[in-house]
């Protein structure tokens, strides 16, 4: 069971690097949604006795992160007719190296944290830290609004991964609420992106820093 889970987390960490290294937005969205689907499957692998509520949240996560959010983002991308990140603030190679360095540091330093013995053999904590770092790098280093949204969603994936540690203690209501918030957030951002494009003729968020009347 644990080795399957570790394999999935390892794949999710690989997808982090795909997200950091790709200049094309469809690839970024695909990496993000594949990661979301993997995360949705994880509670099913972790749970010892079958529980319909866990299965329901897993199903909702897979549907939300695998289908709804990517299709919203793709639609936003189509309306503004942008499919590439051209001049990121942190280049693709440096951001990949940063992400990989972060993943290695997370793997090497996790054993310093006071973890429960049943979590000691899992990659959950390093995976969560590496994914959150990836989200931060995307948020900081990219200039297009859609890439930044993907960064935010990957950051959320990392937090969800961390939350899996507490799956027994945390009410499932919280998970469901977070998922709903994220979906609605992406829905709204899809509309805002269109507005930004119309007002500024570009999705470069650096143009949004100056206030004017």
């Amino acid at each position: 069971m644990n080795s399957n889970l570790n394999l999935l987390i390892g794949l999710a960490m690989g997808l982090n690097l795909v997200a950091l290294g790709s200049s094309r937005l469809p690839t970024l969205i695909r990496a993000m949604s594949a990661q979301g689907v993997m995360l949705g499957v994880m509670p099913l692998l972790m749970d010892h006795e079958p529980d319909w509520r866990v299965a329901l949240v897993a199903l909702a996560t897979i549907a939300g992160k695998g289908l709804v959010i990517p299709s919203l983002l793709r639609r936003a991308m189509r309306t503004v007719q942008i499919d590439r990140e051209l001049d990121p603030l942190i280049g693709f190679v440096p951001s990949m190296l940063l992400g990989a360095g972060g993943a290695i540091a997370a793997l090497a330093l996790t054993h310093l944290l006071p973890l429960l013995p049943e979590h000691a053999g899992l990659l959950l904590v390093p995976g969560a830290l590496a994914t959150m770092l990836t989200g931060f790098i995307l948020l900081i280093g990219r200039t297009k609004a859609i890439s930044q949204v993907c960064g935010y969603l990957i950051l959320e994936n990392g937090i969800y991964l961390f939350g899996l540690l507490l799956i027994k203690a945390m009410p499932l209501m919280v998970e469901a609420g977070v998922l709903l918030d994220v979906t609605v957030g992406v829905f709204i951002i899809g509309i805002i992106v269109d507005r930004i494009q119309r007002a500024f003729d570009s999705l470069d968020t650096r143009k949004l820093t100056a206030l004017r009347e």
Binding site: G10, G21, F92, V93, M96, A100, I104, L107, A120
Partner: protein, 302 residues
């Protein structure tokens, strides 16, 4: 005396089989494109023809221009002699030969680049610069792969190092080493061996002014390097040592053939990458090998 008798068939195997690989790649490419293509043995004919020809040397070039291709060929052959051929074993084997292999490959490249600079042509200098700048990144990946193999088996001798790795580590290594193979042998996403378009050539531009036997040495050396990398890739991933010798030999030959066909398919289906996208791919290869190292180091799990 005995060791010399054992040495000759292995050496012959390397020398005679190497030119087959580019022929197979060209055949696969022709087959995908729906052409008949050159015969598989074309490189043998080319080598024989070049061997009989004379050498044209620029007035600018020093004698090194003729000597360096030979040195590069000997270095590549030396590297090949260290790599075990499945159950047949290596020609030479000692503790730390993995490091020597990496350095001999670097020496081969250094000599080719130097010989290119000898011609005094800015054009060939550009090719040498590109070759060396790709090599910096490809070598990092190669070193990470060698390190991960050595951590996995706790040895620095190629004969014991090329033991099968397991699971995730093997997959990562296979992907990383395949990209390194493509980069080191100047195959398609990095360089197009068929192109004669001046601004995009890398390896071809370095050997443009060579002729006759030195060019034959360069071509044979390139084929040898391709065979070397595919043998290393195969043995790093497949559990050859656990099979009976005939089965292992068959598997080795089959998978080297598979790697060659894979290179041909990549070459047919993929366009050459723009120069600025190459570092990204090589960094990916480096990271793949680095993560294989990490998996090996953690022993599958922390």
């Amino acid at each position: 005396m005995n060791s010399i008798i054992e040495l000759i068939p292995r050496l012959g195997c390397w020398l005679l089989l190497a030119p087959l690989l580019p022929g197979i790649i060209n055949k696969v490419k022709a087959w995908v494109a729906g052409r008949r293509g050159p015969p598989v043995l074309q490189l043998y004919y080319d080598l024989a023809r070049l061997w009989r020809k004379g050498v044209v040397v620029s007035t600018l070039a020093s004698p090194a221009f003729v000597i360096l291709p030979a040195v590069a060929w000997v270095a590549l052959l030396g590297a090949a002699m260290l790599v075990p051929l499945g159950p047949a074993g290596a020609c030479l084997s000692f503790r730390g030969d993995a490091l020597l292999m990496v350095y001999l490959l670097a020496l081969g490249r250094f000599c080719t680049a130097w010989a290119a600079l000898e011609t005094g042509s800015a054009f060939e200098g550009m090719g040498a610069v590109r070759e060396v700048s790709y090599a910096v990144l490809a070598e990092a990946a190669m070193v990470a792969a060698v390190l991960s193999l050595s951590v996995q088996t706790g040895s620095i001798s190629l004969a014991t190092m090329l033991a099968p790795s397991v699971g995730a580590s093997a997959a990562l290594l296979a992907a990383g080493l395949f990209i390194v193979l493509l980069a080191e042998n100047c195959r398609v996403p990095f360089d197009d061996p068929n192109t004669h378009l001046e601004l995009t050539m890398i390896h071809e531009v370095m050997v443009l002014d060579h002729s006759g036997p030195p060019l034959a040495a360069i071509l044979h050396g390139a084929a040898l390097k391709l065979l070397l990398f595919s043998v290393v890739l195969t043995q790093a991933v497949l559990p050859l040592t656990q099979l009976s010798p005939p089965a292992a030999t068959g598997l080795l030959a089959g998978s080297v053939l598979l790697v060659t066909v894979g290179v041909g398919l990549v070459e047919s289906l993929l366009a050459r990458f723009a120069l600025r996208r190459v570092p990204l791919l090589l960094t990916t290869a480096f990271l793949l090998c680095l993560f294989a190292l990490l998996v090996a180091w953690k022993g599958g799990m922390p």
